[in-house]
Amino acid sequence: MSAMLEVKDLVVSYGKIKAVKGISFSVDEGEVVSLIGTNGAGKTTTLRTISGLLRPVSGSIVFKGADLTTVPAHDIVQLGLAHSPEGRRIFPKLTVEENLLLGAFSRKDKGIRGDLEAAYDLFPILQERRTQPAGTFSGGEQQMLAMGRAMMSRPKMLMLDEPSMGLSPLMMKRIMTTVSTLQAQGTTILLVEQNAQAALKRATKGYVLEVGRIVLSGTGRELLESDDVRKAYLGED
């Protein structure tokens, strides 16, 4: 069986600066794959390249058999790949409901209303605030909205860029539980995190990125137990 997402020898640069220096990884259907690494490792760059917002210098990105490197960014979500970006990036002047509906922009089917209800079931606070501008929300609420918005496209695979960034431990737990819920509901997940503990605990597979290269990979458990990861990311020595 071939992987749902297969990234091979990906190189991405900003002008002369190489941010991603030839990485390969894959995500199979039903998995939660974690990509961890410190600041500036190239995690966001990788996700933005998969989504078509950046174009690679070389390498390939194949999602469900389609080469994404030539697909315009706005056509990628339609293929079943959603991206909840770093910093949440909700539309601040639009209401919660408008944000969610924009998540379903690529769809024309009749199921959008039903999925709106599903998003509200997943995060009841969003329903309470459905007519409020999203810019007034706390970080945790914005993260829930960003995830709900991404799910509104009914993705086969969801990419999350640091969903726990800046959240309280409680809220972080909430978000991570949701990741497991979404997986159980059949969504494949590529999770980018600095919080290695939380990300690896749930991961079927993990990759450690350091200055543009993958330096370690294995199952979530293997990485959690590896000395290198414990030293570098879990503050143990």
């Binding site: 315009p72 706005h74 990036r89 539309f91 601040p92 408008e98 924009l102």
Partner: protein, 321 residues
Amino acid sequence: MEFAQQLVNGLTLGSLYALIAVGYTVVYGIIQLINFAHGEIFMIGAFGALSTWLVFFNGNTSVWVLPIMIIGAIASSVIVAVLMERVAYRPLRSAPRLAPLITAIGISVFLQELVRLGYNNPLLFLSTWNPFDFPSAKQKVPFPQIDVVTGAAFNVGGVVIQRSTIFTIGALIICAAGLFYFVSRTRTGRAMQAVSQDPDTARLMGINVDRIIIVAFVIGATLAAVAGVAQGLQITNINFKMGFLAGLKAFTAAVLGGIGNVWGAVLGGLTLGLVESMAVQFIPGTFGGSPWKDVWAFAILILVLVFRPQGLLGAKVVDRA
């Protein structure tokens, strides 16, 4: 009484500015470009209406002709605006800010000259072919005076209300209502707001940003075309330079209201029109009267830029990353 009269005059002028100002502000809101050629889109609209009349209805001034003239105006403005975006601005999308700005000024001059030299001579130096006998646009061209809309003025308790005033203010009300509906209630309108707030994330939602940019140009051109017709009806003639000062004033109105904010453009337009009219009437001595009205208009702009740079309705501009 004088006050009421100037109120009417100011609102008329202001409605015209507002209709044009929306075009500056929607385009700026999406791509942060001051489209200095937008005044010419207004001028093209006026000539488009005239051309429609000359081709299909020459001599006929019945009121039912007017809607078709408006459609002709909108079609002309929209076609020119979309071509302008495609040919001149899109290739410069990732160029430094100054490049599209200078290009805009170039297009502005180009369109003026094109109308001046080519209106009655569309093939220019190749031939003198002029199938519909269009007049030369090197000087003022009379604009058709349509029944009902341009007849005798109404007098309401001493205040003179021209019929073209009613047309202009009515046009603004209809356009503003349509725009409100479009922006806040339609799928494409929501997508437009999303692009103006965060273009990259909008693309992640599946929104084609190039298409939204075209929509912004189409909206601006549509309202400018309506303004072009209103102007023609009001002052009974049009000319190839009419977009210059009107464009500059409308741009001022857009900045006054807060550039990027559609309602700011409407408010800014009306405010500017009122300031001009009131200044003409109520500022005594040397600095009053109509020769000084443009000075007051731009004085307002400078005051706003100094004390409230984000404009009347603009949010504080946070430096965009």
